[in-house]
């Protein structure tokens, strides 16, 4: 598995003394969409927050693109090519759409390409282009998700850590976002580690699925296999 983009081994992490994650392992190949599934409190969000350094790792290894990731400062993550779109969308609601998007590219040296990426995002999400000067709090839930995603894309990441993009969105909007992820993967080779409660829509676009229960990996398999595994679905995924 030397070609893996992200390799997580034996990851144990949490808040304070009691770990939330126990010995978690997973792999994301370049251009692959991996869904992290599980019930509330399974540790899905904590997993993403640990990968990006917002939660301290107590044990285990995270290797990104051949180099150790642990110890990297949170603010240096984007420079390594990782964009984390947090749960609840993470739009800075006091800033305008345009300011939010520009924020996504401020760390980049390549100003020209930053601007180009910004224009591409406006092309990708026409509703955002119509609301450039709107403050974040004036947007609908779907538009905020577009903005958070678009802002991540301005940094041209290689790996997207995406936390519950469907949260609070209409099924139609969720469908659009999932289709967009698949499309981005086809066009740009963007790999995605997707945390979702909406198991059906996540497995519909994912290549692989990782099922978490109480902070442990209880299943890792092709998405198509997980979709058809009735026992697993009943036990951990609730449908």
């Amino acid at each position: 598995m030397s070609g893996a983009l992200l390799q997580v081994e034996g990851l144990t992490a949490g808040y304070g003394a009691a770990p939330v994650l126990h010995d978690v392992g997973l792999t994301v190949q370049p251009g692959e969409i991996v869904a992290v599934l599980g019930a509330n409190g399974a540790g899905k969000t904590t997993l993403l927050r640990t990968l990006s350094g917002l939660v301290r790792t107590t044990r285990g290894r995270v290797v990104f693109d051949g180099a150790e990731l642990s110890g990297t400062k949170v603010e240096h993550l984007v420079r390594r090519g990782i964009a984390h779109v947090p749960e609840g969308r993470g739009v800075v609601t006091e800033l305008t759409v345009d300011e939010n998007l520009r924020l996504g590219g401020l760390w980049r040296r390549d100003r020209a390409d930053s601007r180009k990426a910004l224009d591409e995002v406006y092309e990708l999400f026409p509703p955002l282009a119509q609301r450039r000067t709107f403050a974040g709090h004036q947007l609908s839930g779907g538009e905020r998700q577009m903005l958070a995603l678009g802002r991540a894309l301005v940094g041209r990441p290689r790996l997207l850590l995406l936390d519950e993009p469907s949260l609070g969105l209409a099924p139609k909007v969720t469908g659009q976002i999932m289709a967009l992820l698949r499309d981005l993967r086809e066009r740009t080779g963007l790999a995605v580690l997707l945390v979702e409660q909406n198991v059906r829509s996540a497995l519909s676009i994912a290549d692989e699925g990782v099922v978490l229960a109480l902070g442990r990996v209880v299943a890792r398999n092709k998405a198509s296999v997980l979709r058809d595994d009735a026992d697993l679905r009943h036990a951990y995924l609730g449908f």
């Binding site: 603010e75 984390h84 993470g90 709090h137 940094g155």
Partner: protein, 292 residues
């Protein structure tokens, strides 16, 4: 009528100083959610530095520039050495630490310079021009207008037009998200303190010569007025700080001029109570609820 004109200009001139000082409070509040009660003492420290430099070199302007730089350095120091290590789980912690800083700074200044008023010169005359027999405003008032006006314009350009300003606002509103986007939140916080302390020092430099002179507690009363201005305007709003400062300055000037100087503090308190009763977030607070 001529008295009204004079009091109005006097109020605006004082109000601009309060505005600058309130702006400094707002800068730190927005960045760190701390009301910096040490702002006054820090500003006085910068004025003392200017006093020493001006006395040694004979140049007011050298002292002026050094005071602003001293403010920057003091702001960085207070944030990096003290405030960064304060546990912010309760908003009172920062307040208590800031009050402790006031005692330390004022005590140290008293030891070095003595607890007496030292005379400070102004770079321009404080005699008011007369236009058609009516005393209007002095050269020094014009200097105050220009200095505070420049700071307000520069700050608004910084925050609305530059990448650093965008980073500072983002870091203040959403620290975790900003870090994920590559913003050095700690660096922005330090920068916020530095700017605020420099603006506070400017306010100190402008107001101290118009009062009794420089003294370790010279900014205490100014702090009360400026704090009122910041709260009246809404602690989150730079525009509110400026307008709040002008309102407080005018109110003080009219009440002192038409009623009595001793009633002025009561007028300030009344204004504070009325605004807090009518609009608890301040006149220019955004309507959206914010979690501190």
């Amino acid at each position: 009528m001529d008295r009204f004109v004079y009091l109005t200009f006097d109020g605006l001139s004082r109000g601009l100083v309060y505005a600058a000082f309130a702006l400094a409070l707002v800068l730190i509040w927005r960045a760190a959610r701390i009301v910096n009660f040490a702002q006054g003492a820090m500003a006085v420290a910068a004025v003392y530095v200017a006093y020493s430099v001006t006395n040694a070199t004979g140049s007011y302007w050298l002292g002026f520039v050094v005071a602003l730089l001293a403010g920057l350095v003091l702001g960085v120091t207070v944030e990096r050495v003290v405030m960064r290590f304060v546990d912010h789980s309760s908003p009172l912690n920062g307040v208590v630490v800031a009050l402790g800083l006031v005692l330390i700074i004022q005590g140290t200044l008293g030891i070095i310079y003595g607890n007496e008023y030292l005379p400070v010169e102004t770079p321009f005359s404080r005699d008011a021009f007369e236009v058609g027999g009516i005393a209007m405003l002095s050269r020094y008032d014009l200097f105050v207008f220009a200095a505070v006006g420049t700071v307000v314009v520069l700050l608004s350009l910084l925050f609305t037009r530059t990448a650093i300003g965008l980073r500072m606002r983002a870091a203040a509103f959403a620290p975790d998200v900003s870090r994920l986007l590559g913003v050095s939140v700690g660096g922005m916080l330090t920068l916020g303190w530095a700017l605020a302390a420099a603006v506070g020092s400017l306010a100190g430099m402008l107001v101290v010569p118009t009062e009794l002179g420089v003294h370790p507690t010279a900014m205490d009363v100014v702090f009360v007025s400026a704090f009122t201005a910041a709260v009246v305007g809404g602690l989150d709003s730079p525009i509110g700080a400026v307008i709040g400062g002008l309102v407080v300055g005018l109110l003080l000037s009219y009440v002192s001029g038409y009623i009595d100087v001793t009633v002025a503090p009561m007028a300030i308190l009344t204004l504070l109570v009325v605004v807090l009763l009518g609009k608890p977030g301040g006149l220019f607070s955004s309507s959206k609820a914010r979690v501190a």
